[in-house]
Amino acid sequence: MTNLNAVDPAAAAQDAHLDSADVVIGKSTIIFRRFMRNKTAVAGLVIFLALTVFSFVGGFFTTWDKETIDPFNIGMPPSAEHFLGTSQAGIDLYAMTVEGTRISILIGLVVGLVSVLIAAVYGCTMAYFGGKVDKVMLFVLEALIMMPALLVVAVATSGGGAGLKRDLPSWLLLIIVLLVFSWMGTARLIRSLSMSLMQRDFVKAAQYMGVPPRRIVWRHLVPNIGSLLVLDITRGVTGAILAEVAFSFIGIGIKVPDVSLGVLIGGATSQVQTFPWMFWVPLTVMFLLTGSLAMMNDGLRDAFDPSSSSTGKARKARKIRVEKSK
C-alpha cells in the first residue's frame, strides 16, 4: 500500500462503470471455492447426491417392487435375481431399500428446511420486537422444549388418532410431529445471534441513517445469520433422519405398509442372526446418509468461518493480486 492520500485519476475513470452485482457473485464464489477445496466435504456431497439419485432411479434397475412377493425366494441371501436378497416374507430388499431411502431423505429434507424456516421467523421476530413479545414467545419455546417429543410422536402415530391416521400416511404424520419439536434450539440460537447483531455498530449506523427496519433486517441481519441457517439445515436434516430411524426402530414412527430405513432396520433386528443382510444393508445406507451430511456440515462450517485457515489462503491470494495491480 502506498500513499493513502494519493488518488489515481486514471483508475478512477476506469472504475466508473462498476456494478455491485458482480461483487455478490464474487462472495458466493469464494464460499463455493472454499467448500470445494475441502475434500471430505466434497466426498460427503457426492455421496449424498448419489444416494438421492439412487433413491429416485434405483427402482428402474430391478423388476421387483416393495409389494410383490416372490414365493420362490423367501428369506434368500443376495443373488443375481435379488441384488440384496429378500425378506422372510419374500419381498425384494433392494426395492424396499430404494423406497426407504427416498422416504428417509424426504423426511430429512422437509423437516430440516422447514424447521429452520420456522426457527428463523420465530427467532428474528423475538429479537426484533423484544420486550413482552420476546418474553411470551420464549416461554412458549421453553415449554415446547420441555415436552418429551417422543411421547407426542407415540401418541400421534400409534394412538387411536384414528382420524389423523386415516387421512395421512404415517410418514407425513411423522414429518409434522418432528417439525413441531425440532425448531426450538435453532430459534433460540437465531434469537441471541440477531440480538447481538442488532447491537453492532453497522446496524446502528443504518438506523441512524434512517434506513427502514424492514430493510435493515433484509440487508444486514439475514445475510449475517445466513451461514448459521445453512449449517442448521444440514444439521436439521441429519437430526430428522436419525429421529425417524430411532422412532421407527422401536415401532412408533413410520408404520408398515410405509417403508423407511428405520422400519427396515427395526424389522430386521429380530432375525439379525438368521438374515443378517436384512439388517446391515439398510443400516449401511443410513450411515452413508448421516455420515455424508456430517462431512458436508464440517466443510460448510469451514467455508463460512471467516477465521478458518482456508480464508487465509484466499485472502493471501487476493493480497497478491492487489500488489500486482499497483
Partner: protein
C-alpha cells in the same frame, strides 16, 4: 546523562549475518556488564504461519541495570510485546526464539518450561495489558496472590502468606485489603484489577518487572493512579522495569532509557532525553510529531506517517521504514542500516544512514510534509453570529437501579445524563470529555436516538425532537446529523463492499444509480482513498482506511453535523495523525460541525474549539478549549488534565500531578450536593463548615469573570466563554492527592 544502562550494543549490533551473530553472542558473554540484571543479545523470534515464516523480532539487544527503567516504544506489530514474552518464555511452542537472554548472568533461552518456572514470578515478573481478562474469574483475588507466593516459597506458613498478601494489596493501594482478599476479580473495577496484577507481580520481590501496556485499557485518571502504583512498586522492590507502550507520554516521565522499535527491530535507542529532544531516526521524529500535546495550544497540523508497517513475512532488503520515509533515497533501499552511534553521545544509537543530518533543529513538519493548518471560512465569523446546528436543552436520562430477583425493588436511580444543555454552532468542533461512566456515550445516544417523548429537547438544524412525530421531520433531522463510530471494523458490515457501504445512505436518500456512483467516487477522493478500491471488502483495508470509509459514509448525505465517537482511539499513533488531519481538513473545507467524544484529551485539545467536561452525568466545566485547558477552574478538570502524561521528559519529571483517589463512585453513593465531593482534592482540604456546603448544595454552572486587567481595559467586556460548577475553585488542594516525583531518583539531564 547516566551511563549505567546501555541499550543497543553499538557496532556489534550490525548486520544480521550468522557469523556476526555468533561473535555478538560471544561478546555478550564476555563483555556484558556484570552488574546488568537483564541482558538481551540478538533476540530473534520467528513464527511459522499459514503464509510463511513471520520474523517478528529481529535482533534486539539491551542491558538493564538494577532499579532502572527501560521504555520500549512502538506501534502494534512492532514486536515489542513479542520481545517481552520471549524474555518471559511465554511464547507458544511454535515460536522459534534465538539469541541470548541472561538474567543476572544465567542464560534463560533454551531452558525447559519447568526450569523457567523457577525464574518466572520470582526473579522476573510481568504485568499484562488487559486487567479484565488477566485474572482467573473463578478464584478469589487472595487465592491468586497467595498462589504466587506458594509457588516460590513452599515452606511459608499459611498465616505468613496471608499477611504478605494483605501487605501487598495495601501497597498497591486497595482499601480494606484484608476484606478484599476474599473478593472475586469481577467485584473489582479495571483499575483495581490492574493493581492486583501488580501486587501478584511484585509478590516475590522480582529483580525485573516487565509491564506490557499496563494502562492502555484504563481511563486517564486511573492510568495516573496505576502508573503511580508501578512507581511505588519499583521503589519498594528496587526492581528494574521494562515498560512497553505505544504512548510516548507514559514513558517520558518514567523511563531512563528508551528503545524505539519498528518492524521487529530497534531503530533508535538511547537515554530518554536523547530520544525526545534529539531524535535521529525519521520514524522517531514522526512518532513524536504525530502526537498532539495537551499542555500547549499548538495550531499546527499533526505529522502523518503514510502507509503501513511492512509485512514481516519477507526479509526487508533495505531500511524497513524506507517505504514510508519522506527522506528515503536509493541508498536507504540498499541493505538494512545498522544501529550506529549518534555522534556526540556514546549511548545514543540510531538505525538511519541520514541520522547525522537530522540532529539539531530540523522541523519534523517539513520532513513529513505536514499539511498546512486548514482555515475554515467560519473562523472569521464570531461564534454568536453563526447559526446553531445542534441544541440540547435540559436532557435527562435516568435508569432505575433495581435489586432483588423475585420482586424488583428500586434502590436508586442512575442519572446517566442529568440536565445537559449546550449548543453547537456552524463550523465548530465541540468535544465532551470525561471518564467512562461520566455519561458521554449516553449523551450521544440521546442525540442519535432522539424521539418525541424523551426528557429534554434536542434541536437539530432548527427542528425540535418535540415536533418529530412524523417520518418526514425525522428523516429531515437525520440528514443533518451523521455518526462515525469508535471501532471502524464493527461499524462496517463485513458482507458489504465499500461501494455498498457508501451507497446505503445515498439509496436511502432516494438518489438514482448514476448519481450514487458519481457521489461515491467523490467521497473516496474526499477522504483520501483510491476510488478503484470501492469493490473491496472492509477486511482488505487497514484500520485507518476503514475509519476513512466510516467518515465517507457519514459525509455521504452532506450533513451539517458529524458526531464522532472516539474516532481515533482504535488506531495507531501514526495512523491517528492522518485521520485527525483529515477531520480538520473536512471541517474547514465543508464547513462541518463536529460533536466529538474522546477520552484522549490531547486529541480533543488539538481538534476542538469548545469543550465540555462531564462528571457523573453533569457538565462540570464548559468553554473555549484553550481557556479550559490552560486555566481549568473546576478541580475535576484540573485532575483530569493533570492525569495526562506529556511526551516531554523534563515537564513530566518536574510537574506536580493530582492523583484522584478511587474510582468513579457508584450512583448510590453520590452525595446530594456536588457529585465530585467524594473524590475532590479541594473538598478534602476544606474546613468542615465549607465541606457542608459542597455536600448539601449543588453548584450551578457559572461563567468565569474576566480578569481585573481585562475589565480595566474594557469595562463592558462580555463574559468569557468558560463556565464551571464549583463553589471553591481557588481552594487549596489536599496534600495526599498531590504527587511530585523526586527528581533525585531520576538522573538529572
Amino acid at each position: 546523562m547516566s551511563s549505567e544502562t546501555t541499550t543497543g550494543s553499538g557496532p556489534t549490533a550490525s548486520v544480521n549475518s550468522t557469523e556476526d551473530a555468533v561473535e555478538r553472542l560471544h561478546i555478550a558473554g564476555l563483555h556484558a556488564p556484570t552488574d546488568a540484571v537483564l541482558s538481551v543479545r540478538d533476540l530473534n523470534v520467528r513464527f511459522t504461519s499459514e503464509n510463511g515464516v513471520v520474523h517478528a523480532v529481529r535482533g534486539v539487544d539491551f542491558d538493564l541495570m538494577p532499579g532502572r527503567t527501560l521504555g520500549i516504544v512502538g506501534e502494534s506489530g512492532s514486536g515489542k510485546s513479542v520481545t517481552s514474552l520471549a524474555i518471559m518464555g511465554l511464547l507458544p511452542e511454535t515460536a522459534e526464539v534465538t539469541g541470548s537472554v541472561r538474567l543476572r548472568g544465567q542464560e534463560l533461552l533454551g531452558l525447559s518450561d519447568k526450569a523457567m518456572c523457577g525464574y518466572r514470578g520470582n526473579d522476573i515478573a510481568m504485568v499484562f495489558q488487559d486487567p479484565l481478562s488477566s485474572l482467573t474469574p473463578v478464584y478469589t483475588v487472595g487465592t491468586q496472590i497467595i498462589e504466587a507466593l506458594t509457588i516460590h516459597n513452599p515452606t511459608m506458613s499459611k498465616q505468613a502468606k496471608e499477611a504478605r498478601a494483605v501487605e501487598l494489596l495495601a501497597m498497591v493501594g486497595i482499601p480494606s485489603p484484608k476484606a478484599r482478599l476474599k473478593a472475586f476479580p469481577h467485584e473489582f473495577s479495571g483499575g483495581m484489577r490492574q493493581r492486583v496484577m501488580i501486587a501478584i507481580a511484585i509478590a516475590n520481590n522480582p529483580r525485573v518487572l516487565i509491564a506490557d501496556e499496563p494502562t492502555t485499557a484504563l481511563d486517564v485518571t486511573i492510568q495516573a493512579q496505576v502508573l503511580e502504583v508501578l512507581h511505588t512498586a519499583q521503589e519498594e522492590t528496587g526492581a528494574a522495569v521494562v515498560m512497553i507502550t505505544h504512548d510516548l507520554g507514559v514513558v517520558a516521565g518514567m523511563a531512563d532509557d528508551i528503545m524505539v522499535m519498528y518492524a521487529g527491530k530497534p531503530v533508535e535507542t538511547g537515554a530518554v532525553d536523547d530520544i525526545y529532544y534529539n531524535p535521529r531516526m525519521p520514524y522517531t521524529l514522526g512518532l513524536l510529531g504525530a502526537v498532539p500535546r495537551v499542555d500547549v495550544a499548538e495550531k499546527t497540523s499533526l505529522v502523518p506517517i503514510d502507509g503501513l508497517p511492512p509485512n514481516l513475512l519477507h526479509a526487508p532488503t533495505g531500511c524497513s521504514f524506507a517505504p514510508r520515509c519522506p527522506l528515503a533515497s536509493d541508498a536507504c533501499r540498499d541493505g538494512e542500516p545498522p544501529l550506529a552511534p549518534v555522534p556526540g553521545s556514546a549511548l545514543h544509537h540510531a538505525a538511519c544512514i541520514k541520522s547525522e543530518a537530522l540532529g539539531g533543529d530540523v522541523d519534523v513538519h517539513d520532513i513529513f510534509a505536514a499539511p498546512p493548518v486548514p482555515e475554515s471560512r467560519f473562523d472569521a465569523i464570531p461564534r454568536t453570529d453563526r447559526s446553531t446546528v445542534l441544541q440540547l436543552r435540559d436532557i435527562r436520562k435516568h435508569f432505575p437501579l433495581t435489586k432483588g430477583a423475585l420482586i424488583k425493588k428500586r434502590i436508586g436511580t442512575v442519572k446517566a445524563v442529568d440536565g445537559l444543555s449546550f449548543d453547537i454552532r456552524e463550523g465548530e468542533c465541540f468535544s465532551i470529555v470525561g471518564e467512562s461512566g461520566s455519561g458521554k456515550t449516553t449523551t450521544l445516544l440521546e442525540i442519535m436516538e432522539f424521539h418525541k417523548d424523551q426528557d429534554g429537547e434536542v434541536v437539530i438544524g432548527g427542528l425540535s425532537n418535540k415536533q418529530a412525530a412524523d417520518a418526514r421531520t425525522k428523516s429531515a433531522m437525520r440528514r443533518e446529523l451523521q455518526m462515525v463510530f469508535q471501532d471502524p471494523t464493527g461499524a462496517l458490515d463485513p458482507r458489504f463492499t465499500v461501494y455498498e457501504v457508501l451507497a446505503e445512505p445515498l439509496q436511502n436518500a432516494g438518489m438514482d444509480r448514476p448519481a450514487i456512483r458519481t457521489r461515491i467516487m467523490e467521497l473516496m477522493k474526499l477522504v483520501g482513498l483510491q476510488p478503484d478500491h470501492v469493490n473491496r471488502f472492509p477486511n482488505q483495508f487497514s484500520g485507518g482506511q476503514r475509519q476513512r470509509i466510516g467518515i465517507a459514509r457519514a459525509l455521504a448525505v452532506n450533513p451539517k453535523l458529524v458526531v464522532l465517537d472516539e474516532p481515533v482511539s482504535a488506531l495507531d499513533v501514526s495512523v491517528q495523525a492522518g485521520v485527525i488531519n483529515l477531520l480538520d481538513k473536512l471541517r474547514a473545507e465543508l464547513g462541518l460541525s463536529y460533536l466529538l467524544v474522546a477520552h484522549d484529551l490531547s486529541v480533543v485539545r488539538h481538534i476542538s474549539n469548545r469543550v465540555a467536561v462531564m462528571y457523573l452525568g453533569k457538565i462540570v466545566e464548559i468553554g473555549e478549549v484553550d481557556r479550559v485547558f490552560d486555566n481549568p477552574r473546576h478541580p475535576y478538570t484540573r485532575a483530569l488534565l493533570s492525569a495526562i502524561p506529556v511526551p516531554d521528559p523534563q515537564v513530566e519529571r518536574t510537574r506536580e500531578r493530582i492523583i484522584l483517589k478511587g474510582d468513579l463512585p457508584s450512583p448510590l453513593d453520590a452525595p446530594k450536593g456536588c457529585n465530585f465531593a467524594t473524590r475532590c482534592p479541594v473538598f478534602a482540604a476544606l474546613p468542615a463548615a465549607k465541606q457542608e456546603k459542597c455536600l448539601t448544595l449543588e453548584p450551578p454552572l457559572e461563567a468565569v469573570a474576566p480578569s481585573q486587567a481585562a475589565r480595566s481595559l474594557q469595562p463592558e467586556a462580555p463574559a468569557l466563554d468558560q463556565q464551571f460548577a464549583c463553589f471553591f475553585p481557588d481552594g487549596e488542594l489536599d496534600d495526599d492527592m498531590l504527587v511530585t516525583h523526586d527528581q533525585a531518583e531520576h538522573h538529572a539531564p
